[in-house]
């Protein structure tokens, strides 16, 4: 069967768009072929900086013929209806129609045959549409045509379209169509500099081979392989090791059609700059790789570039030129780094008071104070030194204001660590400057040092609570502040470090504090002086205090006409009485408190259950990703009140192990049987069977034995759960199994005596209740 070759030859396509474009082209063409009844054997697409290419092989030469029956008017129906039917179906006269009978009468039926079209004609129809509607992230118009309406939009000017279709053994045909001024043909072009001449092509095999001869490697994977192999080889030959970088490799392969890998050097003096900064400079600005000494792991004063030509001087000028640019770039980086070292991190902090973190959440300075407070509160719970945690929290964001981080945002945190070490900070404090951002993604490391853990938790909890308080939660695919990642980060830090922290208490603490802080700031904005004083005790009592230095003045100024002072006084009063509700002052004027509250836009902690549910969702996702059965996760969460994430995980683990055992499987079966009977009978009687069974109504030994077993298991399992020993709870649970099995063997639940029946149903309900000590068994799938 024939093959299609399609090439769209253009000016340089941005590297980052090439892979998706090739994929889109393959998908769009093959989808359309299939929709047209042309089922193909295989397809592959490629991209270089100057071309998108697609080969589809094994396309049938013609579409299959289509047969269609169309039902017409009733026999003897009105003439216009019959004429309309003939016109719609293309029949010459009504005698060509068949007659079909059903219970409504006789009808005309037209048998229409739609002959399949040649595939090449179908292609000539579908390809222009695909090209015109191609989903480039950004596209443009160009040239003379761009003045006319409907001009083609492409990522960069499109110059030629090769489209051939034919059998392997024959000269293929051109799929003829034109877009704007471009006519399809079978001519492509080689490398821009080394082989720019036109190349006639017939089909994919000779296209690929001729391009290679014309210094174009069509397949991006081959270019990547070549670059990687050569780069490793070049590094190895000099006694170095390539620092591999997949993203850079992908990008570089999209910048060349004929990769030529060369090595250059820079002055070893630059190695005084942190390696990550050198790498960021060379990588981001110059798209070059760096190499390291395999013995020390330190960067060497070399770099590896990928040129697009085999230069006639062997690449001397290219290396020299790149070396010059890299020297200038590293000079800048060195200057930035040395400038940064002259200012202590804490001296940068005042500037954060001028930088807005979020309109409703205040400045970066306010946020840092919040993180510091929370880190200090968390520190003792995770075994961290409180003073160190506070110090780390205070300094952790300071590197955002350094020159190096301004230039290379990706080294934020890391530079904080370097600068902290350089100014003689404690090692744990310096480490936390970097580690508190972790984990950044599922593959990232989780901090383990207690100081880092305290700051990392405080940072993430403040983000989550803050954005929940102003109702900026992630929705659907929108999560601009990466809150899902923050929540998952909290979860992983707690689980990996085996930390038992009352998460809801920390969330609540952060929620109350941020609101108090914002109100205090509002008081300051209105001309008052306020200090937020906060203690867990006062929070537990359900309030917080704002101590205002001039509170009494504010109160005395009750008759002050100045609006600000009035607002201030009202706000202070509102806080004193512990309620920020709208109410009247002694003179019958409404307090402004609620309006100030609205202007602050921070909700009180009523959002916490919702935030906790968000954590639960993240935890579910995390557990599933780790391979835990989602039904077990659901079974544990269905118990409600599961705010200790560590315990949830332990429960799920214990439950999984239990259900793998025979005891577990049988108990599950028994419990389910009990549940099923119960739900049927509950429906029948339209009532539930809660409440303790009456021992006097037990008639059979099996009933008594089960009641006894339940009693015993309840006690044992409850005690085990209280000890957080879920394995023991499961072992206790297993003891139910023989009694349950025996009960179902010997006892008929639906006894003729209604009282006995009710009592037995209550007993079944007890089984269900007993198992709920560890999980809701009804959520577990068989």
């Amino acid at each position: 069967m024939p093959d299609l070759l399609l090439e769209l030859f253009s000016e340089e396509i941005p590297a980052r768009m090439q892979a998706k474009a090739a994929d889109d082209l393959r998908r769009m063409v093959t989808d359309k072929l299939v929709a047209e009844g042309l089922v193909y054997d295989g397809a592959k697409a490629f991209a270089t900086p100057r071309r998108l290419a697609l080969t589809v092989h094994g396309i049938p030469a013609r579409q299959p013929d289509l047969k269609e029956e169309r039902r017409g008017p009733r026999v003897g129906g009105p003439e216009p209806a019959i004429q309309g039917f003939l016109k719609a179906t293309g029949l010459a006269s009504i005698s060509e129609a068949k007659i079909q009978s059903d219970k409504k009468g006789d009808f005309y039926i037209a048998l229409m045959e739609k002959p399949g079209r040649p595939a090449i004609d179908v292609l000539a129809d579908i390809l222009p549409v695909i090209i015109r509607t191609f989903p480039w992230p950004k596209s443009m118009r160009w040239g003379e045509r761009s003045a006319k309406p409907g001009a083609l939009s492409w990522v960069r000017p499109l110059h030629a379209i090769t489209a051939t279709f034919g059998l392997e053994t024959e000269e293929p045909d051109v799929v003829k169509f034109s877009i704007d001024d471009i006519e399809t043909g079978q001519t492509t072009f080689g490398h821009r500099f080394m082989a720019p001449a036109a190349i006639p092509v017939r089909r994919f095999e000779d296209y690929d081979a001729k391009l290679l001869a014309a210094k174009v490697v069509l397949d991006p994977d081959r270019r990547k392989d070549a670059i990687l192999t050569d780069a490793k080889q070049l590094a190895f030959a000099q006694g170095f090791e390539l620092v591999e970088d997949q993203n850079l490799l992908d990008e570089v392969a999209g910048l060349v059609e004929w990769p030529v890998v060369l090595m250059g050097s820079f002055d070893a003096d630059f190695l005084s700059i942190p390696g990550e900064v050198i790498r960021a400079t060379i990588r981001n600005n110059q798209k070059c790789f760096v190499v390291r000494d395999p013995k020390t792991g330190k960067l060497a004063s070399k770099f590896i570039l990928t040129a697009n030509i085999e230069a006639t001087d062997g690449g001397k000028a290219i290396v020299a030129g790149n070396e010059r640019v890299i020297r200038a770039r590293l000079s800048d980086a060195k200057f930035f780094y040395e400038t940064d070292l002259k200012t202590k991190l804490e001296d940068r902090l005042p500037k954060f008071d001028q930088i807005v973190f979020h309109e409703k959440l205040g400045t970066q300075g306010e946020r840092i104070k919040r993180i510091e407070r929370l880190a200090a509160e968390i520190a003792p719970l995770v075994g961290a030194d409180v003073e160190k945690a506070k110090r780390a929290a205070r300094l952790a964001k300071a590197d955002l204001l350094t020159e190096v981080v301004g230039e290379f945002p990706e080294v934020q945190g890391l530079m904080g660590k370097y600068y902290a070490l350089a100014q003689g900070e404690d090692a744990a404090v310096a480490a936390a400057c970097e580690e508190h951002y972790k984990p950044q993604g599922p593959a990232d490391r989780v901090p383990t040092d207690p100081v880092s853990v305290a700051v990392a938790l405080a940072d993430k909890i403040d983000m989550l609570v803050g954005f929940w308080a102003i109702d900026e939660k992630p929705t659907g695919s929108k999560d601009p502040f990466a809150l899902r990642r923050a929540a998952l980060g909290v979860i992983r830090i707690l689980l990996d470090n085996n930390l038992k922290i009352d998460l809801i208490a920390e969330l609540a603490s952060a929620a109350v504090y941020i609101r108090a802080q914002r109100i205090a700031q509002e008081i300051a904005n209105l001309g008052g002086v306020a200090h937020v004083s906060f203690s867990r005790d006062s929070f537990v009592m359900g309030g917080f205090q704002v101590l205002s230095n001039d509170l009494s003045q504010a109160l005395n100024a009750a008759h002050d006409a100045d609006e600000n002072r009035r607002k201030l006084r009202d706000l202070s009063l509102g806080i004193l009485v512990g309620q920020l509700l709208e109410q009247e002052d002694p003179e019958g004027r409404p307090y402004y408190v609620s309006s100030i509250e609205n202007s602050i836009g921070i909700k009180p902690y009523s959002f916490l259950p919702d935030l906790l549910a968000f954590f639960a969702d993240r935890l579910k996702v995390q557990l599933r990703d780790q391979g835990a059965r989602h039904d077990l996760v659901d079974a544990v969460f269905a118990l409600g009140g599961q705010d200790d994430l560590l315990m949830v995980v332990r429960r799920v683990e214990a439950l999984g192990k239990f259900l793998d055992s025979d005891d577990g499987k049988n108990l599950l079966a028994g419990t389910k049987r009990a549940s099923n009977i119960l739900s049927i009978e509950e429906k029948k009687d339209k009532r539930s069977f809660d409440g303790a069974p009456n021992a006097a109504l037990y008639k059979l030994d099996e009933e008594k034995a089960l009641a006894k077993a339940i009693e015993q298991v309840k006690g044992e399992a409850g005690a085990a759960v209280a000890r957080e020993d879920f394995a023991a709870a499961m072992r206790a649970m297993a003891k139910l199994r023989p009694a349950v099995d025996a009960f179902f063997d010997k006892v008929k639940v639906n006894d003729d005596d209604a009282k006995v029946r009710e009592n037995r149903l209550k007993l079944l309900n007890e089984i269900r209740a007993a198992t709920r000590a560890v999980a809701d068994f009804s959520k577990i799938q068989d």
Binding site: E12, M140, G143, S146, A147, K287, G321, N322, I326, R327
Partner: protein, 315 residues
């Protein structure tokens, strides 16, 4: 072409480089203009680009434009940052199909041999928030150094480009540093001579860089500049308002504009006053956005006026 005398060769003379580019684009058929006689931040601000890029009429022009970026001053201490530098600007409307080749040949003309050097077109989308303009194109790299910007204008002054113009901007100092093999801009040979006759870029501009850096960062009269911004903004609007006329041709009720160019001058003035104020750090982050918006509004109004002038409208 007859061999150039040594002192005119682009690889040893800054002015030789400029003259070679001018000659190359003159040969192509461009109008060779002189710099616009106002302070601008980039060659794009020259009305020969901003305004002439609009409307259907053919337009091919090239010129050197001194460009002022007050914030980029470094008191003459940085080897490649300047608050005043030269751009060589080419504008071709409509963009010709072989514009990339034309550009590459211009590099060959100044001595960049594509058989030896690695020339690359690297994605770089261009946007000017102050001009209400955007386009797609590349940074052109030579051996890893950005030597030009290449843009297909899609929109300028808020008006869709129809047809699209191609814009080439050569950073002349950088390019010269590259072809002369010099690491410090002030070491560039300006006139291509040797010994006592040699004049360097530093001889011409170092003192200016020092003086203007002092001015831009420490002494510029901000009260006056705020006032100038306001005055230029008002004048621009006044001239625009005064320029609208009913079309004199009988039977036509289309409007035409008679003063787009003088109005646009005031837009340029406002933009430069803003740049100077920005360099002094007297404009806060939030205000900054609103100033940019105000200049953009002027630019858009000028663009709208321009497409109703003789040179800017359809025939």
């Amino acid at each position: 072409m007859e061999a150039l005398p040594a002192h005119m060769r682009p690889e040893r003379s800054f002015q030789g480089l400029i003259l070679t580019l001018q000659r190359y684009w003159a040969d192509y058929g461009c109008v060779i203009l002189q710099p616009y006689d106002m302070e601008v931040g980039a060659g794009t601000f020259h009305p020969a680009t901003t305004l002439r890029a609009l409307g259907p009429k053919r337009w091919n022009a090239a010129y050197v434009q001194p460009s002022r970026r007050p914030k980029d001053g470094r008191y003459g201490e940085n080897p490649n940052r300047l608050q005043h530098y030269y751009q060589f600007q080419v504008i071709l409307k409509p963009s010709p199909p072989d514009i990339q080749d034309l550009y590459l040949k211009s590099l060959a003309a100044i001595g960049v041999d594509a058989a030896v050097h690695d020339i690359r077109f690297v994605e770089d989308d261009w946007e000017s928030p102050t001009l209400g303009a955007w386009g797609l194109g590349w940074e052109c790299w030579c051996d890893g150094m950005e030597v030009s910007q290449f843009t297909y204008f899609q929109q300028v002054a808020g008006v869709e480009c129809a047809p699209v113009a191609g814009e080439l901007t050569y950073g002349l100092e950088r390019l010269a540093m590259y072809v002369q093999g010099v690491d410090r801009v002030y070491d560039l040979n300006f006139n291509g001579r040797d010994g006592a006759e040699k004049v360097t870029y530093g001889d011409v501009f170092l003192q200016a860089e020092q003086e203007y850096s002092r001015h831009n960062f420490e002494h510029s009269d901000t009260a006056m500049l705020f006032e100038q911004f306001k005055m230029a903004e008002d004048a621009c609007r006044k001239y625009l308002a005064a320029g609208w006329q009913e079309n004199s041709k009988a039977g036509s009720n289309r409007k035409e504009h008679l003063m787009a160019l003088p109005a646009y001058d005031q837009c340029i003035k406002a933009s430069h006053a803003f740049n100077l104020l920005d360099a002094r750090g007297v404009i806060s982050v939030t205000e900054r956005q609103s100033y940019i918006l105000r200049v953009r509004e002027l630019a858009k109004a000028c663009g709208e006026a321009w497409v109703h002038t003789e040179a800017g409208r359809a025939v």
